[in-house]
């Protein structure tokens, strides 16, 4: 009797495990193949002088996914801080997503450690190479702006900071995951209180780390430029990407996964509202950054925008079209579309606009990371990196995405689909408009 019951159990488990295992294996294989191609790009770019396009592409793919993960961490902590009941079933999905953070630290490692052993340490961040000739014709080592910034921008400190940021992200993700998963077993409500305290501290620490990570990883690519808005831009863009990704993720989980019948119209509506709110916030921040620099009109700040708008002769360059599409297609279209109530409750419309937002979020990442001044040429001018989408970017994007999805599936197999013993879980299940 017992052996047959066990056999039935094992069969049920293995058949259940099989369908899920397939997805996990598929995403792992996609992830490893994509990362393999992206790392091949890093290897091929090894000997290049100046900044390597393949290395920037790897950073773009990384930036896209880390923004979603950091946004997910912030959203979890904000939900706790506001004692939000409605988002509890969504919070569990984001907790699974956070299991990818340690892998992200590993994925970032080649970018930050390779310059230590390379002949051209400035292969990604040009300030790492003191021999690099800037657009003004002098080298980084002679550049007074760099010398002034050197106490912050130096390789040992940069490496330490990078792992400190990852340490903070992973620490808060781990604490919140443990508290939430532990509650599934014993239902001890004091875990919820602890999670709220953790979130209060975490919002400040993770917020600061995300800001400084954006300064170090992305803004320092063009190290002459500075903007205090940049960290807020990264936060706003990250939250937007997170909501868009969450809507798509919950759509798949609700239509063919374990959230069927749990994730309802009211959850969708609220995620749509937050998506709209952060669309406006992203536009507000991005515009404010540009507006202040435009009004003040100081050349050491304005060049960042002028290389994104005009070519050498003052005509529009290819980044001008990207800039305009960010204003009109990344802001106005989703904003006007999301204003309508029917958009936020209709599944195809909401998922469609989320895919749209994610695509333009990627373009926003390109816009912020890729354009950079090249070295001075013989005639005294310099080139700006043009807008191209290369195989290395796509490979990094798909590869890191595969790893994130793989981590999500693996983590989601270990716990209950929703935190059934959370004190507010009924609020979330019966959530209505």
């Amino acid at each position: 009797m017992s052996s047959s019951a066990e056999a039935v159990n094992t069969a049920a488990l293995s058949s259940e495990g099989k369908t899920e295992k397939n997805w996990s294996m598929i995403s792992l294989i996609v992830g490893l193949v994509g990362l393999g191609v992206a790392i091949l790009g890093l290897v091929l770019g090894y000997g290049e002088e100046g900044t390597s396009r393949a290395w920037t592409g790897y950073l773009i793919g990384f930036a896209f996914w880390i923004s979603i993960l950091v946004g997910a961490l912030m959203f979890i902590m904000i939900s706790y801080a506001f004692d939000a009941g409605w988002s509890i079933i969504i919070r569990r999905q984001l907790e699974h997503l956070l299991s990818a953070l340690p892998w992200m630290a590993l994925i970032f490692t080649p970018l930050i450690l390779a310059p230590w052993v390379m002949g051209n340490p400035g292969i990604l961040w040009k300030w790492m190479n003191p021999e690099y000739v800037l657009s003004s014709g002098i080298t980084v080592g002679e550049d007074p702006i760099f010398l002034w910034k050197e106490p912050w921008l130096n390789m040992p400190f940069m490496t330490t900071r990078t792992y400190f940021y990852f340490g903070v992200f992973i620490a808060f993700a781990t604490i919140l995951r443990r508290l939430s998963f532990g509650m599934d077993k014993d239902g001890d409500p004091s875990r919820y209180v602890k999670a709220r305290y953790t979130s209060g501290v975490g919002i400040i620490l993770v917020g600061l780390c995300a800001s400084f990570a954006a300064f170090d990883w992305f803004m320092s690519l063009e190290f002459h430029w500075f903007s205090t808005m940049y960290g807020v831009w990264f936060f706003a863009a990250a939250m937007r990407a997170t909501f868009a990704f969450t809507i798509i993720l919950c759509f798949f989980l609700a239509s063919r996964g374990y959230l069927k019948g749990i994730y309802n119209q009211a959850h969708r509506y609220d995620l749509g509202c937050l998506s709209l709110a952060f669309t406006v916030f992203w536009a507000y921040i991005s515009f404010s950054q540009m507006f202040l620099i435009y009004q003040a009109s100081i050349p050491e700040e304005t060049f960042w925008y002028s290389i994104r708008l005009f070519g050498k002769d003052g005509s529009y360059n290819d980044w001008w079209y990207v800039s305009m599409s960010l204003i009109f297609l990344h802001f106005f279209v989703p904003f006007l579309f999301l204003l309508f109530y029917s958009t936020k409750i209709s599944i195809p419309k909401l998922v469609g606009v989320s895919v749209w937002i994610l695509l333009f979020h990627l373009l926003d990442i390109y816009y912020n990371i890729l354009p950079a001044k090249g070295s001075q040429k013989a005639d005294g001018t310099y080139d700006v990196v043009p807008f191209t989408i290369q195989i290395w970017d796509i490979a990094a994007l798909i590869g890191i995405g595969g790893i994130v999805v793989w981590a999500f599936i693996n983590s989601s197999k270990k716990t209950k689909p929703i935190p059934i013993k959370d004190p507010r879980i009924l609020d979330s299940i019966h959530h209505h408009e």
């Binding site: 435009y294 009004q295 009109s297």
Partner: protein, 180 residues
């Protein structure tokens, strides 16, 4: 008669009862009726067959006119008294954007606020339902439903029987307020 009285009021004891009653009144084809409850009953607007409010339309109209007013202010002032400041053009979409933006928000808020007044027929000093002597109970522990006499389906006898059939008690005809 119908000119003098406002409508028929019926009392219910529980929120599920009023919810079901609202559904039945809506299904019976009445359009001019309202429900009074001591606390918000979620989802009752769907049971009543209410459509989504047009209030968002007022916000949109307010917002768009605010944006246009902002643009008009800047255009009028800058073309009327041209002064180049900081090398910026006389008129452009970027440097005066805070003005467009602030006026968009201000007028959208005004549109929403006054739109709400218009849609709720506010301000008003009195409402005919206050003529019903027990109306105060609807803010304590009773749930009330009023079918107005101006409803095309209204017929005093039939509506009274209908309200009693669906479980209403103390079905009363509310008289129009006395004029001084």
């Amino acid at each position: 008669m119908s000119n003098e009285s406002y409508g028929l009021i019926a009392t219910f004891d529980t929120s599920p009862a009023i919810y079901k009653a609202a559904k039945k009144v809506n299904e019976a084809g009445y359009t001019k009726f309202d429900i009074y409850t001591p606390f918000p009953v979620h989802g009752i607007e769907y049971a009543m067959g209410e459509k989504r409010s047009f209030l968002g339309g007022f916000s949109l109209i307010g917002g768009i006119s605010g944006f246009a007013i902002g643009m008009a202010i800047v255009a009028f002032m800058n073309f009327d008294y041209p002064l180049i400041i900081g090398g910026k053009p006389i008129f452009g979409p970027i440097f005066p954007f805070p003005i467009f933006y602030e006026l968009t928000i201000l007028c959208a808020a005004f549109g929403t606020f006054f739109g709400m007044f218009i849609m709720n027929n506010l301000p008003r000093h009195n409402h005919p339902v206050f003529e019903y002597k027990d109306f105060g109970k609807s803010s304590d522990d009773k749930f009330m439903i009023v079918i107005e006499t101006s409803d095309p389906e209204f017929d005093e006898g039939k509506t009274k029987t209908f309200l009693e059939e669906i479980g209403g008690t103390e079905v009363t005809l509310i008289d129009a307020p006395e004029k001084d």
